[in-house]
């Protein structure tokens, strides 16, 4: 009796030390480069600072009041939400379909896999550049396709306030589907071969295998992918900055581009920090809620 208790205590303690040792490095980096700067940003959000003067004027919650009534910030948030919904709805199914195709195709399709992954290998600067030309109403690919299909050509995507956001989302999907493709592919490949063989021997078709066996066993992976896509979409910045800079007339403004514009273009560092902090709060709340929902379901 005595012996078992001390053994379990010993185990508990060793688990604790091991946990500490294993988690130390990751929190070292996160503390210095992420948590501390965030606190600093919150501090800055209480000030007015144009980024040039050495002193900052203390404002209290003035910036936060402005943020709550800021229509552009609200619009930017809505745009972010559009990206969230469309990203998950478009990227994940396509990525899954392609991953399944590549998985069943096996090694023969390695070359295809290579090409499919290309968009992910290019920087946003490069992608932005490419699509500026793809979307050019006079000379671009979209207009060319439209003409081929019997249209008038001259399709204006990025200059039209109603279309621009969808034009950019298409590019975002283009850029990130390969990531989820590989993510799903890894999960699919890790499914036991025996199950696949058994279900095929049982007379199931590929699609039956996919719907009845592969998909249900990938629940966890799909949930993770959805969360990744969610937070990625909420903090999205690169491509919008390169392609539209939030325009035309704020039609593609995102929280991150609005923050950047305030802090680095207009020079309202304090308000920029407020937008950043507000964005941080929104993203944290949304992801925590999402995680809770997902975890809750898992337990049930």
């Amino acid at each position: 009796m005595q012996a078992t208790r001390s053994l379990s205590e010993y185990r508990k303690r060793s688990t604790l030390t091991a946990t500490t040792v294993f988690l130390l490095p990751v929190f070292f980096f996160i503390l210095i480069f992420i948590i501390y700067p965030i606190i600093d940003s919150f501090w800055l959000s209480l000030h007015e600072w144009n980024g040039i003067t050495s002193g900052k004027a203390f404002l209290g919650l003035e910036n936060w009041k402005t943020l709550l009534g800021d229509k552009i910030f609200f619009k930017a948030f809505l745009n972010n939400m559009i990206i969230v919904v469309l990203s998950i709805a478009i990227q994940l199914p396509i990525a899954m379909a392609i991953a399944f195709l590549l998985d069943t195709g096996g090694k023969k399709l390695n070359f295809l896999k290579m090409i499919y992954f290309l968009p992910m290998l290019m920087s946003s600067v490069a992608v932005g550049f490419l699509f500026k030309y793809t979307y050019d109403p006079q000379f671009g690919l979209i207009s060319a396709v439209d003409t081929m299909l019997g249209g008038q050509g001259m399709v204006d995507v990025l200059g039209d306030p109603h279309r621009a956001i969808f034009g950019v989302i298409a590019v975002i999907c283009w850029q990130f589907i390969p990531f989820y493709m590989v993510y799903f592919l890894a999960a699919l490949s890790s499914l036991p071969v025996e199950i696949y063989e058994a279900s095929i021997i049982d007379g199931a078709s590929h699609s039956q295998y996919f719907w009845r066996v592969a998909l249900p066993s990938m629940k966890g992976t799909i949930k993770s992918a959805a969360v990744l896509s969610l937070v990625g979409s909420l903090k999205y910045f690169d491509l919008i900055y390169v392609m539209t800079q939030g325009g035309p007339d704020g039609a593609t403004e995102l929280m991150a581009t609005y923050m950047y514009k305030n802090a680095f273009t207009i020079g309202k560092m304090g308000y920029g920090a407020t937008v950043a902090s507000g964005m941080f709060i929104i993203i944290t709340v949304i992801s925590l809620v999402t995680l809770r929902v997902i975890n809750g379901k898992e337990e049930a």
């Binding site: 688990t15 604790l16 040792v21 294993f22 988690l23 490095p25 990751v26 980096f29 996160i30 480069f33 992420i34 948590i35 501390y36 700067p37 800055l44 396509i94 379909a97 392609i98 195709l101 290579m114 090409i115 290309l118 992910m120 290998l121 290019m122 920087s123 600067v125 490069a126 490419l130 699509f131 030309y133 793809t134 060319a144 283009w174 390969p178 590989v182 993510y183 890894a186 490949s189 890790s190 036991p192 078709s205 699609s207 039956q208 966890g220 992976t221 993770s224 969360v227 937070v231 903090k235 910045f237 991150a256 950047y260 950043a276 964005m279 993203i283 944290t284 992801s287 925590l288 995680l291």
Partner: protein
């Protein structure tokens, strides 16, 4: 039943072809344009096949400081990647395996950190870098690159490790292995495929990173490739083929790495080390 199967196959094949075009076309535009003379792009159309193999663009790019940028990028990405892989491997183990009070809250912090936009931290990190006397060196980039890629890496790897059957380590523990030996002998080797995914994902991310490189470095000696794209873009104005040559050269190392790494990735998976 059989008919349905065929329809599904056709749809999948069609999707494969469409995606081939969608993923490949802009890439084709980049590479094809890089071989064009400056004005060819206006006269023959953006998507036309180049008249000949015009290599001048590449010559000019390589004559410059291309190799220096290349080295900087390789160095920064390499060092950061090693740090990321080890750190996330360590961290994912307790998160996926141990039962302790703070597991969920700490993991919550990791997830929250994943959502932090780097622009929130740009100014504080800049000031920190200056205090550490690392400003304008390539070493300045290693910390932020590692820190900002860790959350997603830990997230992915924890999910991955959770799929490794518990029986393996339980039997190891019965055999008398401690936490550390279990980790190094069983968990770490089994996590290789997950690490391969991380390696590819993170290298691509860091290879293309722009904002930190812009703010934390300043002189030629510490510039990385994506920043050089920006420099070249300013330098060659609307000389599209020239810019495309730069873009092609910058993407090339990643494409090569993926071409090689992809095979390893698949082998790692096929080895059957992980069986959900």
């Amino acid at each position: 039943m059989k008919k349905k199967f065929k329809v599904g196959k056709i749809i999948v094949a069609l999707l494969a072809l469409i995606w081939l075009a969608i993923a490949g076309a802009p890439f084709y535009f980049m590479v094809a344009s890089a071989f064009k003379e400056q004005f060819e792009i206006f006269t023959t159309g953006v998507f036309a096949i180049p008249k000949g193999l015009y290599l001048q663009n590449f010559h000019k790019v390589i004559e410059g400081d291309f190799y220096k940028y290349l080295f900087n990028s390789i160095f920064v990405v390499g060092v950061s990647l090693v740090l990321i892989l080890f750190t996330s491997l360590f961290a994912s183990y307790p998160f996926s395996r141990f039962k302790f009070k703070l597991n969920k809250p700490l993991f919550g912090i990791i997830v929250a950190a994943m959502a932090v936009p780097i622009h929130v931290t740009l100014i504080p990190v800049f000031q920190l870098t200056q205090k550490l006397n690392l400003y304008d060196t390539i070493f300045a980039l290693i910390g932020p690159y590692t820190a900002f890629n860790l959350p997603i890496s830990v997230f992915i790897l924890t999910g991955f490790m959770a799929q490794i059957p518990k029986e393996l380590e339980e039997s190891a523990e019965i055999d008398g292995c401690g936490k550390y030996r279990t980790f190094f002998n069983i968990i770490a080797p089994l996590s290789k495929p997950g690490l391969a995914t991380l390696a590819i994902y993170n290298s691509v991310n860091m290879w293309n990173e722009f904002s930190f490189a812009l703010v934390l470095t300043q002189s030629q000696k510490s510039r990385t490739l994506p920043l050089s794209i920006w420099e070249y873009q300013g330098q060659y104005n609307a000389n599209i083929p020239m810019i495309m040559a730069v873009l092609t050269l910058c993407a090339l190392p990643m494409i090569l790495a993926f071409a090689i790494g992809q095979d390893k990735l698949i082998k790692g998976m096929m080895a059957g080390a992980v069986k959900g």
